[in-house]
């Protein structure tokens, strides 16, 4: 068992002030790690050597590299250290192996050695090793190890020197970072064929960069409560892996995984910077590609209702909410919040919010979505926020913003095609909007080509409460069935049938009173009066004037059955002056996308 190895060697090395002479110990290599040389330097191998009782770190002098490369020295190999030296590095002893010979052995790890350094700290007395420690027991000899535990500015105990996040790599696992938690996710549960688990993520940041850390299963219990957003911690003894970009969009090639041995300690040092942002103005969002990440800051102009979406993957509903953000560029954009953030979002008082790590989408031109690692910071104390607030109070409040969609963004039900997204009439026909049983909404920019002069209005109930039902002429008055009243004169309301046309095609639409009045420029009642009064030319002139106007029409397409034939009917819900600014912006976008 341990007969083969020189038990007590590790302790001897650690406790001696100088290298023990005449000791040719036999130890087992538990692990070998290659440390790639930088530039001209050769690769070096770091080894863990065990004497059966304890294990400790060592470095192989490069002349021995061939032995490792030819696999003569490998994991679990037993070796005789024919020449070695020990160095004190940052309070720890590191054995430099200058020459070694492999010893015949075919087996696994001998004994159950524990980390000598850990043992040194926790136990006050040594167990005796081979040769008695020269300077007496724990007191003096473990001084180099003991000194380190004091929380000196250089960070950790013997858990590694203080590293900047930028220098973390999988090649070194003795490090400590001092960083602030800039984001902490919720605990997520999963279950798949391999079993169940839970995990959570945090993002750490220091002056040199940021890195994401994940804790699985037990580490969730250990660390989830302890880590608070915005506070600074020392982290050490965790594993550095290559980042899984699929889940991790933090700007670092690596990520950290918490392990059982990971140590995290709170730190009071506030000098670690808080959030670093790299804002894109809302007007410049169109220059970003879809699915890119960005940071934005803006004033929340509108908060929409909480909606719910059922995930196709998990079949579970989760909450979503849209908010409209505006900034000095004059542009507004829709940002979608999900889950808890959507539910808890309360701030209807036009606050400044900074978002980090939101994903750019192209829904309705440009839209933003909170990715799982995105963060939201309310009224942050940064200069951009103050500038925004100042601008908003001065002019932004009353400004008319151009949305990436249409200025009149109305959120209607069942919006499959975004109601505000402009479609050409060709697209309307191609996409067969309204031909399914669903009611579909869209907008189009078109010109009035023709208006039907017959049946342009109907007599409606004059009830001031707004009944609007068609009334029947009974000869002695107009009867409303719903109100059960008779009126002397009805109020005529438009039911205008128009043909609108753009550069691709034309469709017949129906416009009701409000819309038609805008187009005709005269209330239906007056127009009917003209017709009945016999003033044909004046009557006709209104129609002529109306034709040729260009508007942005907000439309509803629905299927109706017309003499047993299904027909799509297009109804106009709203009409507005075409917004040249946003339409030009849209065209610019489309041209840019052109090859």
């Amino acid at each position: 068992m341990s007969g083969l190895l020189t038990t007590g060697f590790c302790e001897l090395i650690h406790t001696s002030a100088s290298d023990p002479k005449d000791v040719i110990p036999i130890v087992q290599i538990l692990n070998i790690k290659k440390i790639s040389g930088q530039g001209q330097d050769k690769d070096r191998y770091r080894v863990i050597i065990s004497d059966g009782k304890y294990f400790t770190q060592g470095m192989l002098a490069t002349q021995n590299n061939p032995l490792v490369e030819s696999k003569q020295i490998d994991k679990n190999t037993v070796v005789k250290l024919t020449q070695f030296a020990s160095n004190s590095v940052q309070g720890r002893k590191l054995i430099i192996i200058l020459a070694l010979e492999p010893v015949e052995y075919n087996g696994d790890k001998i004994g159950n050695p524990t980390n000598l350094e850990k043992a040194e700290i926790s136990s006050a007395t040594h167990t005796n090793g081979g040769a008695p420690p020269p300077n007496g027991a724990s007191g003096g000899a473990s001084a180099p190890l003991r000194a380190a535990p004091s929380r000196a500015a250089q960070g950790g105990r013997d858990v590694g020197p203080l590293f900047p996040i930028e220098r973390l790599s999988p090649y070194q696992n003795k490090w400590t970072i001092k960083a602030r938690v800039t984001a902490k996710s919720e605990i997520k549960h999963w279950s798949n064929q391999r079993g169940d688990g839970k995990l959570f993520n945090v993002t750490f940041m220091d002056e040199t960069g940021e890195i994401r850390a994940t804790g699985f299963n037990e580490t969730v219990d250990t660390f989830y409560e302890m880590l608070q957003e915005g506070k600074v911690y020392f982290v050490s003894r965790a594993r550095v892996n290559i980042a899984k970009k699929q889940f991790n969009n933090v700007n670092n090639d690596y990520e950290i995984a918490f392990e059982r041995d990971t140590e995290i300690e709170a730190c009071d040092d506030e000098s670690v910077p808080k959030m670093k942002y790299n804002f894109t103005s809302i007007g410049d969002l169109e220059s970003l590609q879809k699915d890119e990440m960005c940071d934005v800051i803006g004033i929340v102009k509108e908060v929409h209702e909480l909606g719910s979406v059922t995930s196709k993957a998990t079949n579970k509903p989760f909450a979503k909410r849209d908010i409209q953000l505006v900034d000095q560029s004059g542009q507004s954009v829709r940002l979608t919040l999900w889950g808890k953030q959507a539910e808890n979002f309360e701030h209807k008082d036009e606050p400044v919010i900074a978002f980090k790590g939101v994903k750019v989408g192209d829904f309705g031109g440009r839209s933003l979505s909170m990715f799982s690692s995105a963060t939201m910071s309310l009224e942050p104390d940064i200069p951009e926020a103050h500038q925004l607030r100042g601008w908003f109070e001065a002019e932004g409040r009353n400004k008319q913003f151009t949305a990436y969609t249409n200025t009149n963004v109305t959120r209607t039900e069942n919006a499959v095609a975004n109601p505000s997204e402009l479609k050409t009439i060709g697209q309307v026909k191609d996409e067969q909007l309204g031909m399914n049983d669903k009611t579909e909404y869209f907008s189009t920019s078109a010109t009035v080509a023709f208006i039907k002069q017959e049946t342009f209005a109907y007599p409606a109930c004059a009830n001031p409460d707004g009944c609007n039902k068609k009334v029947m002429d009974s000869g002695s008055g107009w009867v409303c069935e719903k109100c059960e009243r008779t009126w002397e004169n009805p109020i005529w309301r438009y039911i205008l049938q128009m043909n609108i046309m753009d550069h691709v095609g034309s469709i017949w639409i129906t416009g009701f009173n409000e819309v038609a009045e805008q187009i005709m420029g005269i209330p239906a009642n007056d127009l009917t009066g003209l017709k009945e009064g016999g003033d044909e030319s004046k009557f006709g002139s209104y129609f002529q004037k109306a034709v040729g106007q260009t508007f942005t029409f907000q439309m509803m397409a629905k299927q109706d059955s017309f003499n047993d034939q299904p027909r799509v009917r297009y109804q106009c819900r709203r009409v507005s002056e075409p917004d040249f600014v946003s339409e030009s912006a849209r065209l610019v976008q489309q041209i840019n996308l052109m090859g």
């Binding site: 007007g283 040249f580 600014v581 030009s584 912006a585 610019v588 041209i591 052109m594």
Partner: protein, 108 residues
């Protein structure tokens, strides 16, 4: 839109390219001092414009047709008033497209 104009539409950064030539410059009037106007082009650059005596700059946005002098100021030949609202971003896009291969032959 407007028929193809023989003069290219430019902004401040394109002035050097058309030194000595006649160009169109859509711009926002910043100030007028005597017969010299300072205007801001669609890319934000400011340009000095020498106006003739009979030129009336009435609106905030104008299009100046003129020749580019050696000192990169513009000697105005005529001007067109464009009202008090103009989407300079769209103007800038037009100018950029006309300079790039995308606009060749379509936009001047």
């Amino acid at each position: 839109m407007a028929p193809l104009a023989p003069e290219p539409r430019i902004n401040a950064s394109l002035l050097a390219k058309y030194r000595g030539q006649t160009v169109r410059l859509p711009a926002k009037v910043v100030k007028i001092v005597g017969s010299t106007a300072t205007v801001e082009a669609s890319d934000g650059g400011q340009i000095g414009v020498h106006l003739g005596r009979d030129m009336h700059i009435a609106d905030t946005y104008v299009e100046i047709i003129g020749s580019v002098k050696d000192d990169l100021s513009l000697k105005a030949l005529t001007s067109i008033n464009l009202g008090d609202r103009l989407d300079m971003k769209a103007v800038q896009a037009v100018i950029e497209f006309s300079q790039s291969s995308k606009g060749e032959g379509i936009l001047v």
